[in-house]
């Protein structure tokens, strides 16, 4: 191993433009060995471009990339030998069966015949694809294709893996399965660079989260550190009309009223006592409450606080879509 750098992935000052359209405007990435790094951003933020540059598929206009100690500009082949990539678009051969796809990877990784066959069988079992192994990919569901895609990445047992939106478009159950598979890789000490547009996914899987918006990293840190960057949680009180809202607002100093939604947000860190006291106060004042909800800060708040309006709109759509599933 010529691992001069203690970091698995280091990139600095990455810039990329397609024509006049600047996609990346100075991105720095550093991922330690065995860490899970999530790059979070709305559609069109430039996540796939980052992955394509880090995996040598695209050349950056400026900046350097070092993978497992190998500079991709001078030693791309050694960098490629160290990584595995699962792309956003299924990087599978649609005209072959699942087993043939895995065998193709085993052959191109130059595993010996017996070793290759064993590895293929082992992966089929691990990824729950044994029954579908002999079927053409046209019969596979999206979840199966994603699992096969990841299994193909693992044939050569790479120590650094790039996952570009591994769960986009999957149903909740398939998403959970992917998360478990990714977590088991991380437990095995594999370095993982993951992109996602789902805050929940970054929260579940990553040690370190970077938020990409408009070609720049607008924030990064651990999930907890990012959450601390936004105002705390609150109790949201819902009223039937504006009069009730106005009356209630007088009893809660420091609360913010939303006259359109007829809600009152009372700061709270989520203790049950806060709820009891709020309800008591309303009852004593004789104000009828329409509804109540607790709101604890999550990455959504961070995301909305950090990214632009366009990002907010698209992220909201994503949440709605997920809610509808």
């Amino acid at each position: 191993m010529t691992n001069r750098s203690p970091m698995a992935i280091v990139a600095s000052g990455l810039r990329k433009a397609f024509g006049d359209h600047v996609v990346l405007d100075g991105i720095d990435v550093a991922v330690g060995p065995g860490k899970v790094y999530a790059m979070l951003g709305p559609n069109g933020a430039g996540k796939t471009t980052v992955v394509n540059i880090l995996t040598t598929l695209l050349t950056a206009d400026a900046g350097t990339v070092v993978i497992a100690g190998h500079d991709v500009a001078t030693d791309g082949d050694a960098a490629r030998a160290a990584i595995g990539v699962t792309g956003q678009l299924s990087a599978v051969d649609n005209l072959l069966t699942g087993r043939e796809n895995l065998q193709l990877m085993a052959d191109l990784r130059h595993l010996r015949k017996k070793e290759g066959r064993e590895r293929v069988q082992q992966l089929l079992e691990h990824f729950d694809l044994v029954d579908a192994a002999g079927k053409l990919l046209s019969t596979y569901s999206l979840g199966m294709r994603r699992r096969l895609d990841l299994a193909m990445t693992l044939v050569g047992e790479p120590r650094i893996i790039f996952l570009d939106e591994p769960t986009t478009g999957l149903d909740p159950r398939s998403r959970r399965t992917m998360w478990e598979l990714i977590r088991s890789l991380a437990d095995g000490g594999v370095t993982i660079f993951l992109t996602t547009q789902y805050l929940e996914e970054a929260d579940e899987l990553a040690d370190w989260i970077a938020v990409l918006d408009g070609g720049r990293l607008v924030a990064e840190g651990t999930s907890d550190a990012l959450k601390q960057r936004v105002p705390g949680g609150h109790i949201r009180l819902q009223f039937a009309d504006a009069e009730a809202l106005a009356a209630a607002a007088e009893h809660f100093a420091g609360a913010t009223a939303d006259e359109e939604a007829l809600t009152l947000s009372v700061p709270s860190d989520g203790r049950p006592d806060d709820v009891r006291s709020a309800l008591d106060r309303l009852e004593r004042a004789g104000i009828e409450l329409g509804g109540l909800s607790m709101h604890t800060p999550d990455l959504d708040d961070v995301f909305f606080a950090l990214t632009g309006n366009g990002a907010k709109a698209s992220a909201t759509t994503d949440s709605l879509e997920r809610a509808a599933q």
């Binding site: 598929l57 599978v92 649609n94 072959l96 053409l136």
Partner: protein, 259 residues
């Protein structure tokens, strides 16, 4: 690095995979094999009596068969362009580009598959020629030379077709870029002697690559000396092959264009 050491086994792996595609979706192969046979039957069976008057001293099948054997290569170009374009713009090849595999091996797999496809087509065409009464006088050496020259031309032209497919932005463009190779035989000495053509067309036909190659194969199969025509034929093949190879490798080395 490691990827160059493995260029031959990797190309063989890619070839096996491409042949699996071919076997699994035989429709394209059937259409492709059918084309030169259709042309053969048209020219020999339908126009043969009339065209035979332009080739005194030989039967028309004896004149046309060597040419039709060669142009099986030309008819395969569209299929090759289709395969190369759709494959290199697919997810699987993106994955291969991020692996430690020689990029020449990925293209080489397509070129070798094309060579095998052309050979099958040429063999089927030969059987039809024999059924139509064609007999060659060139003996074993004549056949050997023919196989070598048709293969050399196929290899050379395929690299150029690969480059043309890689330079295209759409699948339509990739296939239409190579249509010219299907029409080229009709402006050569393939079906009638060039001196029967109008002066300008005759000059074009004399000076395009297919004519010397076809004349060389005619000579080889007839057992007559080909002389300097053979050298011109070999020079054309070498030129087309080297230009195509260099261009294709350069295009495939660039960042992929989003399709």
């Amino acid at each position: 690095m490691s990827s160059l050491t493995y260029v031959v086994p990797d190309a063989a792996t890619m070839l096996r995979r491409n042949l699996k595609h071919l076997l699994r979706y035989p429709v394209m192969m059937i259409v492709y094999v059918g084309q030169p046979i259709f042309v053969l039957l048209m020219f020999v069976g339908v126009y043969g009596n009339a065209l035979g008057e332009a080739t005194p001293g030989t039967s028309y099948i004896e004149f046309a068969a060597p040419a039709v054997l060669l142009i099986t290569v030309n008819f395969g170009c569209t299929t090759t362009a289709f395969n190369v374009f759709s494959d290199t713009s697919s997810g699987i090849v993106s994955r291969l580009r991020t692996m430690s595999i020689s990029r020449a091996a990925i293209l080489g797999g397509h070129v070798l598959e094309s060579l095998i496809r052309t050979t099958i087509s040429a063999l089927v065409t030969l059987v039809v020629c024999l059924l139509l009464g064609y007999r060659a006088n060139g003996g074993f050496l004549g056949w050997l030379g023919t196989v070598a020259l048709v293969s050399f031309f196929s290899l050379a032209l395929t690299w150029l077709v690969v480059a043309l497919a890689l330079s295209a932005r759409t699948l339509q463009q990739a296939t239409s870029n190579t249509l010219i190779f299907q029409f080229l035989p009709f402006f050569s000495s393939a079906f009638v002697p060039t001196d029967t053509m109008p002066p300008v067309v005759s000059w074009l036909a004399e000076n395009q690559p297919l004519t010397p190659i076809i004349e060389t194969i005619r000579a080889l199969l007839a057992g007559t000396p080909a002389g300097s025509t053979a050298l011109v034929a070999l020079a054309w093949c070498a030129g087309i092959g080297i230009a195509g190879f260099v261009w294709a490798i350069r295009l495939f080395g660039r960042d992929p264009v989003p399709h």
